[in-house]
Protein backbone atom coordinates (compact mmCIF):
# COMPACT_ATOMS: atom_id res chain seq x y z
CA UNK A 1 0.00 0.00 0.00
CA UNK A 2 1.19 3.44 -0.90
CA UNK A 3 -0.74 5.40 1.70
CA UNK A 4 0.17 5.65 5.37
CA UNK A 5 -1.73 3.55 7.85
CA UNK A 6 -5.46 3.89 7.54
CA UNK A 7 -7.31 5.69 10.23
CA UNK A 8 -9.59 2.74 10.89
CA UNK A 9 -9.26 -0.97 10.42
CA UNK A 10 -12.96 -1.37 9.74
CA UNK A 11 -15.81 1.02 9.02
CA UNK A 12 -19.22 -0.39 9.88
CA UNK A 13 -22.03 1.40 8.08
CA UNK A 14 -25.21 1.00 10.14
CA UNK A 15 -25.59 1.73 13.85
CA UNK A 16 -28.55 -0.52 14.54
CA UNK A 17 -28.42 -3.84 16.31
CA UNK A 18 -26.73 -5.64 13.41
CA UNK A 19 -24.02 -3.03 12.82
CA UNK A 20 -23.45 -2.41 16.53
CA UNK A 21 -23.10 -6.12 17.28
CA UNK A 22 -20.54 -6.53 14.52
CA UNK A 23 -18.70 -3.40 15.70
CA UNK A 24 -18.57 -4.78 19.24
CA UNK A 25 -17.06 -8.06 18.05
CA UNK A 26 -14.48 -6.19 15.99
CA UNK A 27 -13.50 -3.94 18.91
CA UNK A 28 -13.05 -7.00 21.11
CA UNK A 29 -10.66 -8.35 18.50
CA UNK A 30 -8.48 -5.29 18.69
CA UNK A 31 -9.74 -3.58 15.55
CA UNK A 32 -10.05 0.20 15.32
CA UNK A 33 -13.68 0.66 14.37
CA UNK A 34 -15.68 3.50 12.88
CA UNK A 35 -19.46 3.10 13.32
CA UNK A 36 -21.56 5.29 11.05
CA UNK A 37 -25.24 5.81 11.77
CA UNK A 38 -27.57 7.55 9.35
CA UNK A 39 -29.62 9.28 12.03
CA UNK A 40 -33.22 9.44 13.06
CA UNK A 41 -34.56 9.50 9.51
CA UNK A 42 -33.34 5.94 8.93
CA UNK A 43 -35.85 3.10 8.83
CA UNK A 44 -34.71 1.80 12.16
CA UNK A 45 -35.71 -1.85 12.46
CA UNK A 46 -33.62 -2.00 15.64
CA UNK A 47 -36.10 0.30 17.32
CA UNK A 48 -39.28 -1.30 16.02
CA UNK A 49 -38.91 -5.02 16.47
CA UNK A 50 -40.66 -7.46 18.77
CA UNK A 51 -37.63 -8.63 20.75
CA UNK A 52 -37.72 -12.39 20.26
CA UNK A 53 -34.54 -14.44 20.43
CA UNK A 54 -36.01 -17.21 18.37
CA UNK A 55 -35.13 -20.47 16.69
CA UNK A 56 -38.30 -22.27 15.71
CA UNK A 57 -39.52 -21.17 12.28
CA UNK A 58 -36.05 -19.98 11.27
CA UNK A 59 -34.24 -21.72 8.45
CA UNK A 60 -36.89 -23.82 6.72
CA UNK A 61 -35.19 -24.79 3.46
CA UNK A 62 -31.75 -23.69 4.61
CA UNK A 63 -30.18 -25.90 7.28
CA UNK A 64 -27.16 -23.58 7.47
CA UNK A 65 -29.47 -20.84 8.73
CA UNK A 66 -30.90 -23.20 11.36
CA UNK A 67 -27.35 -23.93 12.54
CA UNK A 68 -26.45 -20.25 12.51
CA UNK A 69 -29.54 -19.34 14.55
CA UNK A 70 -28.83 -22.16 16.97
CA UNK A 71 -25.24 -20.99 17.26
CA UNK A 72 -26.34 -17.45 18.10
CA UNK A 73 -28.94 -18.49 20.64
CA UNK A 74 -26.34 -20.71 22.31
CA UNK A 75 -24.02 -17.71 22.55
CA UNK A 76 -26.79 -15.40 23.82
CA UNK A 77 -26.62 -16.18 27.58
CA UNK A 78 -22.92 -15.30 27.77
CA UNK A 79 -23.49 -12.33 25.45
CA UNK A 80 -26.22 -10.92 27.72
CA UNK A 81 -24.05 -11.48 30.80
CA UNK A 82 -21.14 -9.73 29.16
CA UNK A 83 -23.27 -6.71 28.26
CA UNK A 84 -24.56 -6.50 31.82
CA UNK A 85 -21.09 -6.75 33.30
CA UNK A 86 -19.66 -4.12 30.98
CA UNK A 87 -22.55 -1.65 31.10
CA UNK A 88 -24.83 -2.43 34.02
CA UNK A 89 -27.67 -2.63 31.49
CA UNK A 90 -29.92 -5.64 31.87
CA UNK A 91 -31.22 -6.51 28.39
CA UNK A 92 -33.92 -8.64 30.05
CA UNK A 93 -32.90 -11.77 28.19
CA UNK A 94 -34.89 -14.86 29.13
CA UNK A 95 -34.40 -18.31 27.67
CA UNK A 96 -37.27 -20.20 29.16
CA UNK A 97 -38.62 -21.48 25.86
CA UNK A 98 -41.15 -20.10 23.41
CA UNK A 99 -44.39 -21.22 21.84
CA UNK A 100 -46.17 -20.86 18.54
CA UNK A 101 -49.90 -21.02 19.23
CA UNK A 102 -52.11 -23.09 16.94
CA UNK A 103 -55.76 -22.10 16.51
CA UNK A 104 -57.82 -25.01 15.24
CA UNK A 105 -56.86 -28.47 14.02
CA UNK A 106 -55.87 -27.35 10.53
CA UNK A 107 -53.42 -24.82 11.94
CA UNK A 108 -52.01 -27.45 14.32
CA UNK A 109 -51.58 -30.01 11.52
CA UNK A 110 -49.87 -27.51 9.26
CA UNK A 111 -47.50 -26.60 12.07
CA UNK A 112 -46.81 -30.25 12.83
CA UNK A 113 -45.91 -30.90 9.18
CA UNK A 114 -43.60 -27.89 9.12
CA UNK A 115 -41.88 -28.96 12.33
CA UNK A 116 -41.41 -32.51 11.02
CA UNK A 117 -40.01 -31.20 7.76
CA UNK A 118 -37.57 -28.88 9.50
CA UNK A 119 -36.45 -31.61 11.89
CA UNK A 120 -35.63 -33.77 8.88
CA UNK A 121 -33.49 -31.00 7.43
CA UNK A 122 -31.10 -30.49 10.36
CA UNK A 123 -30.28 -32.26 13.59
CA UNK A 124 -30.06 -28.95 15.46
CA UNK A 125 -33.80 -28.39 15.08
CA UNK A 126 -35.45 -29.51 18.28
CA UNK A 127 -38.90 -27.99 18.30
CA UNK A 128 -41.72 -30.23 19.51
CA UNK A 129 -45.49 -30.18 19.25
CA UNK A 130 -47.55 -29.83 22.41
CA UNK A 131 -51.24 -30.59 22.58
CA UNK A 132 -53.48 -28.36 24.65
CA UNK A 133 -52.83 -30.33 27.83
CA UNK A 134 -49.11 -30.08 27.27
CA UNK A 135 -49.40 -26.34 26.67
CA UNK A 136 -51.44 -25.84 29.85
CA UNK A 137 -48.87 -27.82 31.81
CA UNK A 138 -46.11 -25.63 30.36
CA UNK A 139 -47.89 -22.39 31.30
CA UNK A 140 -49.85 -23.13 34.47
CA UNK A 141 -52.52 -20.63 35.40
CA UNK A 142 -52.84 -19.22 31.88
CA UNK A 143 -56.36 -19.51 30.47
CA UNK A 144 -56.29 -20.21 26.74
CA UNK A 145 -59.10 -19.63 24.29
CA UNK A 146 -61.34 -22.51 23.21
CA UNK A 147 -59.77 -22.65 19.75
CA UNK A 148 -56.22 -23.18 21.02
CA UNK A 149 -55.54 -26.83 20.27
CA UNK A 150 -51.84 -26.73 21.04
CA UNK A 151 -48.55 -25.16 20.10
CA UNK A 152 -45.11 -25.86 18.86
CA UNK A 153 -42.51 -25.38 21.57
CA UNK A 154 -38.77 -24.85 21.52
CA UNK A 155 -37.03 -24.81 24.88
CA UNK A 156 -34.15 -22.75 23.46
CA UNK A 157 -36.38 -19.84 22.43
CA UNK A 158 -36.51 -16.66 24.43
CA UNK A 159 -36.86 -12.92 24.32
CA UNK A 160 -35.17 -9.72 25.38
CA UNK A 161 -35.77 -5.98 25.51
CA UNK A 162 -34.44 -4.85 22.11
CA UNK A 163 -34.21 -1.19 23.12
CA UNK A 164 -32.09 -2.12 26.12
CA UNK A 165 -30.00 -4.31 23.82
CA UNK A 166 -29.30 -1.36 21.54
CA UNK A 167 -28.57 0.85 24.55
CA UNK A 168 -26.18 -1.73 25.99
CA UNK A 169 -24.39 -2.14 22.66
CA UNK A 170 -23.93 1.60 22.21
CA UNK A 171 -22.79 1.99 25.81
CA UNK A 172 -20.18 -0.74 25.57
CA UNK A 173 -18.96 0.54 22.20
CA UNK A 174 -18.47 4.00 23.64
CA UNK A 175 -16.55 2.51 26.55
CA UNK A 176 -14.31 0.50 24.25
CA UNK A 177 -13.53 3.63 22.29
CA UNK A 178 -15.39 3.13 19.03
CA UNK A 179 -15.71 6.21 16.85
CA UNK A 180 -19.51 6.35 16.68
CA UNK A 181 -20.88 8.99 14.33
CA UNK A 182 -24.61 9.60 14.57
CA UNK A 183 -26.37 11.62 11.92
CA UNK A 184 -23.73 10.62 9.40
CA UNK A 185 -25.51 9.29 6.30
CA UNK A 186 -22.98 7.68 4.01
CA UNK A 187 -23.20 8.98 0.47
CA UNK A 188 -20.37 7.20 -1.22
CA UNK A 189 -17.93 4.36 -0.57
CA UNK A 190 -15.09 3.73 -2.97
CA UNK A 191 -12.17 1.39 -3.02
CA UNK A 192 -8.91 3.27 -3.32
CA UNK A 193 -5.59 1.48 -3.41
CA UNK A 194 -6.56 -1.42 -1.20
CA UNK A 195 -8.54 0.66 1.26
CA UNK A 196 -11.94 2.30 1.34
CA UNK A 197 -12.77 5.97 1.26
CA UNK A 198 -16.10 6.81 2.82
CA UNK A 199 -17.85 10.05 2.12
CA UNK A 200 -20.48 10.87 4.71
CA UNK A 201 -22.32 13.98 5.74
CA UNK A 202 -20.00 14.21 8.73
CA UNK A 203 -16.85 14.03 6.62
CA UNK A 204 -14.46 11.71 4.81
CA UNK A 205 -13.06 8.60 6.44
CA UNK A 206 -10.67 5.87 5.42
CA UNK A 207 -10.68 2.30 6.51
CA UNK A 208 -9.01 -0.94 5.60
CA UNK A 209 -12.30 -2.81 5.42
CA UNK A 210 -15.92 -1.83 5.29
CA UNK A 211 -19.03 -3.67 6.47
CA UNK A 212 -22.41 -2.60 5.11
CA UNK A 213 -25.01 -3.39 7.78
CA UNK A 214 -27.41 -0.57 7.14
CA UNK A 215 -30.68 -2.48 6.79
CA UNK A 216 -32.83 -0.75 4.21
CA UNK A 217 -30.10 1.83 3.69
CA UNK A 218 -27.79 -0.88 2.33
CA UNK A 219 -28.68 -1.27 -1.37
CA UNK A 220 -27.43 2.13 -2.52
CA UNK A 221 -24.04 1.53 -0.87
CA UNK A 222 -23.79 -2.13 -1.77
CA UNK A 223 -24.12 -1.29 -5.43
CA UNK A 224 -21.03 0.93 -5.26
CA UNK A 225 -19.01 -1.96 -3.87
CA UNK A 226 -20.23 -4.73 -6.13
CA UNK A 227 -22.07 -6.32 -3.22
CA UNK A 228 -25.46 -8.00 -3.51
CA UNK A 229 -28.40 -6.50 -1.64
CA UNK A 230 -31.53 -8.35 -2.69
CA UNK A 231 -33.91 -7.01 -0.06
CA UNK A 232 -37.44 -5.75 0.14
CA UNK A 233 -39.29 -4.11 2.97
CA UNK A 234 -42.18 -5.66 4.82
CA UNK A 235 -44.18 -3.60 7.25
CA UNK A 236 -44.95 -5.11 10.62
CA UNK A 237 -47.22 -3.48 13.17
CA UNK A 238 -47.15 -3.91 16.94
CA UNK A 239 -49.76 -3.14 19.60
CA UNK A 240 -48.66 -2.21 23.11
CA UNK A 241 -50.92 -2.59 26.12
CA UNK A 242 -50.77 -1.08 29.56
CA UNK A 243 -48.66 -2.89 32.13
CA UNK A 244 -50.29 -5.71 34.02
CA UNK A 245 -49.14 -8.15 36.65
CA UNK A 246 -46.84 -10.72 35.02
CA UNK A 247 -48.98 -13.72 34.08
CA UNK A 248 -47.53 -14.97 30.79
CA UNK A 249 -44.38 -16.95 31.58
CA UNK A 250 -43.23 -17.59 28.00
CA UNK A 251 -43.01 -15.50 24.86
CA UNK A 252 -45.07 -16.71 21.94
CA UNK A 253 -45.80 -16.08 18.32
CA UNK A 254 -47.35 -12.65 18.23
CA UNK A 255 -47.86 -12.28 21.99
CA UNK A 256 -45.34 -11.66 24.71
CA UNK A 257 -45.24 -9.93 28.07
CA UNK A 258 -42.22 -7.77 28.76
CA UNK A 259 -40.36 -7.66 32.06
CA UNK A 260 -42.27 -4.47 32.91
CA UNK A 261 -45.63 -6.16 32.42
CA UNK A 262 -46.54 -4.69 29.02
CA UNK A 263 -48.15 -7.07 26.52
CA UNK A 264 -46.77 -6.76 23.00
CA UNK A 265 -49.04 -8.01 20.25
CA UNK A 266 -47.89 -8.71 16.68
CA UNK A 267 -47.32 -9.79 14.07
CA UNK A 268 -48.47 -8.55 10.74
CA UNK A 269 -46.80 -8.41 7.36
CA UNK A 270 -47.67 -6.02 4.57
CA UNK A 271 -45.94 -4.98 1.39
CA UNK A 272 -46.49 -1.25 1.41
CA UNK A 273 -43.02 0.06 0.64
CA UNK A 274 -41.88 2.51 3.29
CA UNK A 275 -45.29 3.73 4.38
CA UNK A 276 -44.76 3.72 8.15
CA UNK A 277 -48.32 4.38 9.23
CA UNK A 278 -50.24 2.05 11.49
CA UNK A 279 -53.73 1.02 10.50
CA UNK A 280 -56.83 0.23 12.52
CA UNK A 281 -57.67 -2.72 10.26
CA UNK A 282 -54.39 -4.54 10.89
CA UNK A 283 -54.37 -3.60 14.58
CA UNK A 284 -57.90 -4.91 15.02
CA UNK A 285 -56.96 -8.16 13.27
CA UNK A 286 -53.94 -8.69 15.51
CA UNK A 287 -55.99 -7.89 18.63
CA UNK A 288 -58.74 -10.29 17.56
CA UNK A 289 -56.26 -13.12 17.08
CA UNK A 290 -54.59 -12.37 20.43
CA UNK A 291 -57.99 -12.59 22.12
CA UNK A 292 -58.65 -15.98 20.51
CA UNK A 293 -55.39 -17.16 22.11
CA UNK A 294 -55.75 -15.35 25.45
CA UNK A 295 -59.32 -14.17 26.10
CA UNK A 296 -58.34 -12.56 29.39
CA UNK A 297 -56.53 -9.80 27.47
CA UNK A 298 -59.99 -8.35 26.75
CA UNK A 299 -60.45 -5.06 28.55
CA UNK A 300 -56.74 -4.23 28.61
CA UNK A 301 -56.01 -0.76 27.36
CA UNK A 302 -53.78 -0.20 24.36
CA UNK A 303 -51.24 2.50 25.04
CA UNK A 304 -49.76 2.78 21.57
CA UNK A 305 -49.00 1.13 18.28
CA UNK A 306 -46.07 1.38 15.94
CA UNK A 307 -44.81 -0.06 12.70
CA UNK A 308 -41.41 -1.00 11.35
CA UNK A 309 -39.90 -2.50 8.24
CA UNK A 310 -38.44 -5.99 8.15
CA UNK A 311 -35.35 -6.40 5.99
CA UNK A 312 -36.29 -9.41 3.88
CA UNK A 313 -34.26 -11.26 1.30
CA UNK A 314 -36.11 -13.38 -1.29
CA UNK A 315 -35.98 -16.50 0.92
CA UNK A 316 -36.06 -14.49 4.19
CA UNK A 317 -32.70 -15.96 5.24
CA UNK A 318 -29.68 -13.73 5.86
CA UNK A 319 -27.26 -12.62 3.18
CA UNK A 320 -23.58 -12.34 4.04
CA UNK A 321 -21.05 -11.67 1.33
CA UNK A 322 -17.64 -10.24 0.60
CA UNK A 323 -17.19 -8.32 -2.63
CA UNK A 324 -15.20 -10.25 -5.19
CA UNK A 325 -14.39 -7.03 -6.99
CA UNK A 326 -13.32 -5.19 -3.82
CA UNK A 327 -12.05 -7.66 -1.22
CA UNK A 328 -12.45 -6.27 2.27
CA UNK A 329 -15.95 -4.99 1.57
CA UNK A 330 -18.60 -7.07 3.34
CA UNK A 331 -22.35 -6.95 3.67
CA UNK A 332 -24.67 -8.33 6.34
CA UNK A 333 -28.41 -8.30 5.69
CA UNK A 334 -31.00 -10.04 7.85
CA UNK A 335 -34.33 -9.52 9.53
CA UNK A 336 -33.28 -11.22 12.76
CA UNK A 337 -30.74 -8.79 14.16
CA UNK A 338 -31.78 -9.48 17.74
CA UNK A 339 -31.57 -13.28 17.53
CA UNK A 340 -28.33 -13.14 15.56
CA UNK A 341 -26.69 -10.40 17.65
CA UNK A 342 -24.50 -12.84 19.58
CA UNK A 343 -23.27 -14.58 16.42
CA UNK A 344 -22.68 -11.26 14.70
CA UNK A 345 -20.54 -10.12 17.64
CA UNK A 346 -18.85 -13.52 17.64
CA UNK A 347 -18.30 -15.55 14.49
CA UNK A 348 -19.21 -12.87 11.96
CA UNK A 349 -16.91 -10.24 13.50
CA UNK A 350 -14.20 -12.89 13.72
CA UNK A 351 -14.57 -13.59 10.00
CA UNK A 352 -14.37 -9.90 9.09
CA UNK A 353 -11.34 -9.39 11.32
CA UNK A 354 -9.72 -12.40 9.69
CA UNK A 355 -10.60 -11.05 6.27
CA UNK A 356 -12.53 -14.03 4.99
CA UNK A 357 -16.06 -15.22 5.58
CA UNK A 358 -15.01 -18.84 5.33
CA UNK A 359 -16.89 -21.91 4.14
CA UNK A 360 -19.78 -21.77 6.60
CA UNK A 361 -20.74 -18.12 6.10
CA UNK A 362 -20.14 -18.39 2.35
CA UNK A 363 -23.33 -20.45 2.22
CA UNK A 364 -25.21 -17.22 2.88
CA UNK A 365 -24.02 -15.54 -0.29
CA UNK A 366 -26.74 -14.09 -2.48
CA UNK A 367 -25.53 -16.33 -5.30
CA UNK A 368 -28.06 -18.84 -4.02
CA UNK A 369 -30.80 -16.76 -5.63
CA UNK A 370 -29.05 -16.81 -8.99
CA UNK A 371 -28.71 -20.58 -8.83
CA UNK A 372 -32.37 -20.95 -8.03
CA UNK A 373 -33.52 -18.75 -10.89
CA UNK A 374 -31.15 -20.48 -13.32
CA UNK A 375 -32.28 -23.96 -12.31
Amino acid sequence: MIRPADQFDVAVVGGGIVGSSIALGLMERGQRVLLLDEGDLAHRAARANFGLVWLQSKGDGMPAYMRWTRRSTDLWPAFADQLRQMTGVDVEYRRKGGVYYCLGEADFDARRRKVASMRAQADVFDTEMLDRTGLERLMPGVRFGREVVGASYCHRDGDCNPLRLLQALHTVLLRLGVDHRIGAPVERVEAVAGAFRIQSQSGFFESGKVVIAAGHGSPALAEQLGLPSPIRSERGQILVTERVRPFLPLPGSGIRQTADGTILIGSSSENVGFDDRTTVAVGAGMAARALRVLPSLAGLRLNRTWSGFRVLTPDKHPVYAESSRYPGAFIALCHSGVTLAAAHAGDFAEAVARGSLGAFLDQFHAERFDVRSAA
Partner: protein
Protein backbone atom coordinates in the same frame (compact mmCIF):
# COMPACT_ATOMS: atom_id res chain seq x y z
CA UNK B 1 -55.87 23.66 31.42
CA UNK B 2 -53.67 25.39 33.98
CA UNK B 3 -55.38 28.75 33.54
CA UNK B 4 -56.98 29.96 36.74
CA UNK B 5 -60.18 31.95 36.55
CA UNK B 6 -59.67 35.73 36.78
CA UNK B 7 -59.82 37.25 40.24
CA UNK B 8 -63.34 37.76 41.44
CA UNK B 9 -64.77 35.11 39.14
CA UNK B 10 -65.89 32.15 41.14
CA UNK B 11 -65.98 28.83 39.37
CA UNK B 12 -68.40 26.37 40.77
CA UNK B 13 -66.80 23.71 42.93
CA UNK B 14 -67.91 20.15 42.56
CA UNK B 15 -67.30 17.20 44.86
CA UNK B 16 -65.55 14.00 43.84
CA UNK B 17 -63.84 11.34 45.93
CA UNK B 18 -60.19 10.33 45.68
CA UNK B 19 -59.57 7.06 47.50
CA UNK B 20 -62.73 7.71 49.50
CA UNK B 21 -61.79 11.24 50.58
CA UNK B 22 -63.99 14.05 49.34
CA UNK B 23 -62.23 16.62 47.17
CA UNK B 24 -63.75 19.91 46.05
CA UNK B 25 -62.47 21.04 42.70
CA UNK B 26 -63.48 23.67 40.13
CA UNK B 27 -65.90 22.50 37.50
CA UNK B 28 -64.13 21.67 34.25
CA UNK B 29 -61.01 20.33 35.96
CA UNK B 30 -59.52 16.98 34.98
CA UNK B 31 -59.59 13.87 37.13
CA UNK B 32 -55.79 14.01 37.16
CA UNK B 33 -55.96 17.45 38.75
CA UNK B 34 -58.34 16.15 41.41
CA UNK B 35 -55.94 13.30 42.18
CA UNK B 36 -53.01 15.73 42.40
CA UNK B 37 -54.97 18.03 44.69
CA UNK B 38 -55.74 15.12 46.99
CA UNK B 39 -52.26 13.69 46.81
CA UNK B 40 -49.59 16.16 45.72
CA UNK B 41 -46.73 13.70 46.28
CA UNK B 42 -47.92 11.09 43.80
CA UNK B 43 -51.06 9.77 42.21
CA UNK B 44 -50.05 6.16 41.58
CA UNK B 45 -47.27 3.65 41.98
CA UNK B 46 -45.46 2.28 38.95
CA UNK B 47 -46.51 -1.29 38.24
CA UNK B 48 -42.95 -2.04 37.15
CA UNK B 49 -40.88 -0.52 39.94
CA UNK B 50 -43.30 0.49 42.70
CA UNK B 51 -42.01 4.05 42.45
CA UNK B 52 -44.42 6.91 43.27
CA UNK B 53 -45.47 8.71 40.09
CA UNK B 54 -47.51 11.80 39.27
CA UNK B 55 -49.07 13.35 36.16
CA UNK B 56 -46.47 14.86 33.90
CA UNK B 57 -47.63 16.08 30.50
CA UNK B 58 -51.33 16.68 31.24
CA UNK B 59 -52.10 16.33 27.55
CA UNK B 60 -52.57 12.63 26.97
CA UNK B 61 -49.09 11.62 25.91
CA UNK B 62 -47.15 10.33 28.92
CA UNK B 63 -49.53 7.89 30.64
CA UNK B 64 -48.24 8.98 34.06
CA UNK B 65 -51.72 10.03 35.21
CA UNK B 66 -53.38 6.61 35.04
CA UNK B 67 -56.28 6.36 37.47
CA UNK B 68 -59.19 4.10 38.23
CA UNK B 69 -62.29 6.16 37.60
CA UNK B 70 -65.77 4.95 38.52
CA UNK B 71 -64.44 1.40 38.62
CA UNK B 72 -62.69 1.46 35.26
CA UNK B 73 -58.93 0.92 35.67
CA UNK B 74 -56.03 2.51 33.82
CA UNK B 75 -57.72 5.61 32.45
CA UNK B 76 -55.72 8.69 31.53
CA UNK B 77 -56.95 11.09 34.20
CA UNK B 78 -55.80 14.18 32.36
CA UNK B 79 -58.25 13.51 29.53
CA UNK B 80 -61.33 13.08 31.73
CA UNK B 81 -63.34 15.99 33.10
CA UNK B 82 -64.62 15.62 36.65
CA UNK B 83 -68.32 15.06 37.27
CA UNK B 84 -70.12 15.44 40.59
CA UNK B 85 -69.76 12.26 42.62
CA UNK B 86 -66.98 10.81 40.46
CA UNK B 87 -65.04 8.05 42.24
CA UNK B 88 -61.31 8.22 41.64
CA UNK B 89 -58.84 5.67 42.95
CA UNK B 90 -55.08 5.88 42.76
CA UNK B 91 -53.62 2.64 41.37
CA UNK B 92 -51.20 0.83 43.65
CA UNK B 93 -49.10 -1.55 41.62
CA UNK B 94 -49.87 -3.59 38.52
CA UNK B 95 -53.31 -4.26 37.27
CA UNK B 96 -54.41 -7.87 37.55
CA UNK B 97 -55.46 -9.79 34.47
CA UNK B 98 -58.95 -11.11 35.23
CA UNK B 99 -59.06 -14.91 35.62
CA UNK B 100 -55.80 -15.38 33.76
Amino acid sequence: MFVQPPKGVRSRLIAVTVDGEEVLIPEGSSAALAAMQASPTGTRRSPATGQARAPYCMMGACFECLLEIDGVPSLQGCLIVVRPGMTICRPQGAREIPDA
